[in-house]
């Protein structure tokens, strides 16, 4: 038996680094480039009017996208209100009650499928389900489409986070004579709380940038969303329409809207990171 050559190892190590470090840098570089483009082209569009005024017809200077900002917020909130409770409860079922049962296995499998379903298909599905039946596009339909996209994300993170809670904690609550539901809600849920919040925030970040599902459901509008039973303005479809238009002013606004969404998603993602870090330092861990 002979010792392996040390120089050979060092060379192999170098070679591996030479290949991998640029690959990692490439990933970051693309993101940085996108950010740079969005900021440099979009920042000019952001002014007070952008946040407070309705859009103007092509050719007319000024105006803003206040209706689209409001519409996106409304539909994201609607999606969160519908998608989060269902996702949380289904996640609790999988982690605490279903575990390895047939139903739980089936739910887990379909959730994975749903997670991989292209969002445009969800859009068409809700179009057939709600838009065709009611006869018009609406913010409701948009919110439902986004909720369907949120559901699997919330569900899986809930299950994962609850699975991270040690069985001993569950057992101690039960051993004190707590009924299963109470042990779950007052002890297990609490121990996983920050992780659950992170999951919800990530799901919100994921759907707030979706365009395809809204194209078929909420469509878009030049007016304030007085009720969400009508076509509802939103940022992503506005970006789609404005960016394709021949008007310089609209294109500029599309860049502004892109910047706004990018920053919004960035903030939500950073928030979720912060709650996660908080979890590591404070709550139930050893």
């Amino acid at each position: 038996m002979r010792l392996r050559s040390r120089t050979q190892r060092k060379v192999a190590d170098r070679a591996a680094r030479v290949v991998m470090v640029p690959a990692a840098l490439a990933g970051i570089a693309v993101l940085a480039w996108i950010l740079w483009e969005v900021i440099s082209r979009g920042a000019g569009a952001l002014n007070l009017d952008f946040f407070t005024q309705l859009p103007t017809p092509p050719g007319m200077e000024g105006g803003g996208l206040a209706n689209a900002i409001l519409g996106t917020l409304l539909m994201t909130v609607l999606a969160t209100v519908i998608g989060t409770p269902v996702g949380l409860m289904a996640g609790i079922y999988l982690a605490e009650f279903g575990t390895t049962s047939r139903l739980a296995t089936a739910v887990r499998f379909t959730t994975n499928l749903l997670m991989g379903t292209p969002s445009i298909i969800v859009g068409i599905f809700v179009y057939a389900l709600i838009v065709l039946r009611t006869g018009h596009f609406s913010g409701w339909a948009g919110g439902v489409a986004l909720a369907i996209l949120m559901l699997p994300v919330v569900l899986r993170t809930t299950e994962d986070m609850l699975n991270l809670v040690p069985d001993e904690l569950r057992e101690s609550a039960l051993a004190l004579g707590a009924p299963r539901w109470r042990a779950t809600l007052t002890v297990v849920f609490r121990a996983a709380k920050t992780g659950l919040v992170t999951g919800i925030l990530l799901a919100v970040a994921r759907v707030s940038g979706e365009t395809a599902p809204l194209l078929f459901t909420a469509l878009n509008s030049f007016y304030w969303p007085e009720t969400i039973s009508e076509p509802t303005a939103n940022l992503t479809v506005t970006i789609f329409n404005y960016a394709m238009s021949p008007y310089a002013d609209w294109q500029q606004k599309a860049w502004g809207a892109s910047l706004l969404i990018t920053v919004g998603i960035l903030i939500v993602t950073v928030l979720s990171r912060l709650t996660l870090r908080d979890r590591k330092s404070r709550t139930w861990s050893r």
Binding site: L169, S172, A175, L176, G177, A178, T186, S285
Partner: protein, 263 residues
């Protein structure tokens, strides 16, 4: 301090738990074989044996906590206060109020020290504010933790040290007034000084409670228990007064284990 029981005492004492022909299965794998034992009331009974011999499995039947896992199954009789608790008609919440349990690693709930103790109390009793704080104080005193935490009841329980957390768990279990306390290697994750405190605490518990202590530490069994059962490969090889088990074991396997020939 040590008042290790005698063989005569074991026979004359009323038993808190009578186990008859207990078999236990993890899925298709049998872990306990025909366990028979009578746990004397208001005494400390230690369960010793090598890893994987079924010590923890055995006591986890007493409060049916194993039922959390769908593949775990127990057969036979475990009679506590004259009632076979393995019958499906037994109310689990009532059973677990009477049978407390302490785990290997401390399990403080993610809430304040006060709320940890109050958790079990509120599960089983309707109590007003003042009575609740009296009860919490009393439980913490009996758990030998009051002096260390009385000024920080509102702080999160997981800020306590490991040994304090374990005494908190004992106080939490005591608060609901159980009659039987199961301890599953309660000192295995704790330093020697904290261990000594918990051993002292176990000594004082004996006056009011029946304690079953699973331990892989033979010195601990010798120090704190009145009676000792030796488990091996899922069988109860020998059960008797601690002094007798450690000085004059009847079975060859017990002697081999105690003298450190295996395990």
């Amino acid at each position: 301090m040590n008042r290790a029981g005698s063989a005569e005492e074991a026979r004359s004492l009323p038993s808190k738990v009578s186990v008859r022909n207990l078999n236990f299965y993890y899925g298709g794998q049998q872990a306990l074989f025909d366990n028979n034992i009578d746990i004397p009331e208001k005494r400390v009974t230690a369960i010793i044996g090598p890893s994987g011999c079924g010590k923890s499995t055995h006591i986890r039947v007493y409060n049916r906590i194993y039922e959390l896992y769908r593949t775990h199954r127990a057969e036979g009789q475990v009679v506590i206060d004259g009632k076979n608790i393995l019958l499906p008609s037994v109310d689990l919440i009532d059973l677990r109020k009477r049978v407390g349990m302490i785990f290997q690693r401390p399990t403080p709930f993610p809430m304040t020290i006060f709320d940890n103790i109050a958790y079990g109390l509120k599960l089983h009793y309707r109590v007003g504010r003042t009575e609740l704080s009296d009860r919490v104080e009393d439980a913490l005193k009996r758990g030998a933790l009051w002096d260390e935490v009385k000024d920080k009841l509102g702080e999160p329980a997981n800020a306590l040290s490991g040994g304090q957390q374990q005494r908190l768990c004992i106080a939490r279990a005591i608060a609901t007034e159980p009659e039987l306390i199961l301890m599953d290697e309660p000192c295995s994750a704790i330093d020697p000084v904290a261990t000594a405190k918990i051993e002292d605490l176990i000594q004082t518990l004996r006056d009011n409670y029946t304690v079953v202590l699973v331990t892989h530490n033979m010195q601990q069994a010798a120090r704190v228990s009145d009676f000792t059962a030796f488990f091996y490969k899922g069988y109860i090889i020998e059960f008797g007064a601690t002094k007798q088990i450690f000085t004059n074991p009847a079975e060859r396997e017990t002697e081999d284990y105690i003298t450190g020939r295996f395990g």
